[in-house]
C-alpha cells in the first residue's frame, strides 16, 4: 500500500498522474505526514539534480500556513454572507419605512379630515363669532399645512422614517 502511494508520489511530481488520482493523492497527503516527508524528499532530489542545491521543505511548512489561514475569516464566503446580512437589513429598513409611510399617511388623512371638518364648521359659523375665531386659531396652531392669512394652503407631504441598522 505504502509503495503504491510512493509510486503515485513519483508520478505526481512528474505531473503524470490523472486528475482524479492526483486529487486522491493530495487527500491522502493531508492525513499522512510520512507521505508528505517522502514527497518533500523526492522534490528536494529533483531540484538538487538540476541546481546542485539541496533544499528540503520544513516539516511544518504547510501546517503553519493552514494555522494562519484558519484564523482568517473566509474572505469570499464572508463577503457573500455580509452582503446577505446587509441585504436583510435593507429589506427590514425598507419594510419599516413602508409601514411608517402608510401609518403617517393614515394619520395625515385623519388630520386632513379633521381639518376639513373644522374648516366646514368655521365656514358655517359667523366669522366674527368667538367659536369661529377659536377654531381658526386651533387650525393655525395644530395643522401641518401652511396657512396664509388665516386660510388653509395645503401642501400634502409624507414623512418617512428610515431606521438606521447601526
Amino acid at each position: 500500500m505504502s509503495e503504491d502511494l510512493n509510486l503515485k508520489l513519483s508520478q505526481f511530481i512528474d505531473n503524470e498522474l490523472e486528475h482524479d488520482e492526483a486529487l486522491k493523492l493530495l487527500n491522502a497527503l493531508a492525513d499522512q505526514p510520512h507521505l508528505q516527508h517522502k514527497l518533500k524528499r523526492y522534490e528536494a532530489i529533483s531540484h538538487a539534480i538540476k541546481s546542485q542545491v539541496y533544499l528540503e521543505v520544513k516539516a511544518d511548512f504547510s501546517a503553519n500556513i493552514a494555522q494562519q489561514i484558519k484564523q482568517d475569516a473566509l474572505p469570499f464566503i464572508d463577503k457573500k454572507q455580509s452582503f446577505k446580512q446587509t441585504y436583510q437589513w435593507l429589506a427590514l429598513a425598507a419594510s419599516i419605512a413602508i409601514v411608517a409611510f402608510i401609518v403617517e399617511q393614515g394619520i395625515n388623512n385623519q388630520r386632513f379630515n379633521s381639518t376639513a371638518t373644522l374648516q366646514m364648521a368655521k365656514h358655517w359659523l359667523p366669522k366674527d363669532s368667538d367659536l369661529n375665531k377659536r377654531i381658526g386659531q386651533y387650525l393655525q396652531d395644530h395643522s401641518p399645512d401652511a396657512y396664509a392669512n388665516g386660510e388653509i394652503d395645503a401642501k400634502p407631504y409624507a414623512k418617512v422614517t428610515i431606521v438606521n441598522p447601526k
Binding site: 493530495l26 487527500n27 517522502k38 521543505v57
Partner: protein, 196 residues
C-alpha cells in the same frame, strides 16, 4: 497520453474553485503541490533557505487572501509566481532598511531573481553539509543501474515526459514509471542514511 500541463491546470482550477467556495483544505492541497517550487523561487532572491521558507509562507498566505480576486485570466501558478516574486522583493527591500550590508535597488532585484545563486548566507557547517549531500546524491545517481540512470536523467535534466522517455528507450510507459520510482527510492535511501 496525459497532457502534463493541461492536467496540472485542470487540477488547479478545481482546487481554486473549491477554495473560493469555502473549502480551506483545497488550499492546503495547493500549498503541498507548489511549496517546493515557491521556496526555490524565493530562495533565488533571499539566498537563505530558512528565510526563504518564511517568506514563501507569507507569499502563500497573501495568495489565499487575494484568491477571491483571482478570475482565472492567467494560470494559477503564474499568478502565484508573481505574488511570490513580489513578496520576496518586498522582503529584500525591508531587509535593506534594517541592515546596511544588504543594499539593493529594484533593478538589482530583477537580476538577482534571474541569476543562479552566486552568494550564500550559509554557515560553514551548512555549506559543508550541502556539499556532502550533493556528493552523496551524485554518487547515488552514478550507482544506479544504467536503464534507471538514463530514464532518471532524461526526466530530471532534460524534462522529458514518460511517453517521450518510453519512445527513446523503446519500452512501455509503465516500465519508465517504475524505473523512475525505483531510482528515486534508491537515491532517497542513500540520503536518509546521511540526513535522518
Amino acid at each position: 497520453m496525459i497532457n502534463q500541463s493541461r492536467n496540472s491546470e485542470q487540477l488547479d482550477e478545481e482546487l481554486v474553485s473549491r477554495v473560493q467556495h469555502g473549502d480551506k483544505t483545497a488550499f492546503d492541497h495547493l500549498v503541498i503541490k507548489y511549496q517546493h517550487r515557491i521556496i526555490q523561487l524565493v530562495n533565488r532572491y533571499v539566498k537563505d533557505p530558512s528565510e526563504a521558507q518564511d517568506v514563501a509562507q507569507d507569499a502563500f498566505i497573501k495568495a489565499y487572501r487575494a484568491l477571491d480576486g483571482f478570475r482565472g485570466e492567467a494560470a494559477f501558478y503564474t499568478w502565484l509566481y508573481r505574488i511570490a516574486t513580489n513578496t520576496a522583493k518586498n522582503y529584500l527591500i525591508s531587509r535593506t532598511r534594517r541592515h546596511s550590508d544588504y543594499q539593493y535597488d529594484i533593478q538589482e532585484l530583477e537580476v538577482i531573481g534571474n541569476s543562479p545563486q552566486l552568494h550564500s548566507n550559509d554557515t560553514p557547517e551548512q555549506l559543508l553539509l550541502s556539499e556532502e549531500i550533493m556528493t552523496t546524491l551524485n554518487q547515488a545517481i552514478e550507482d544506479l543501474p544504467e536503464e534507471m540512470r538514463v530514464a532518471f536523467r532524461l526526466r530530471e535534466i532534460e524534462g522529458r515526459s514518460y511517453e517521450e522517455i518510453a519512445l527513446a528507450m523503446k519500452c512501455p510507459v509503465g516500465t519508465i514509471r517504475s524505473r523512475l520510482f525505483r531510482a528515486r527510492e534508491a537515491i532517497d535511501k542513500q540520503l536518509t542514511f546521511l540526513l535522518d
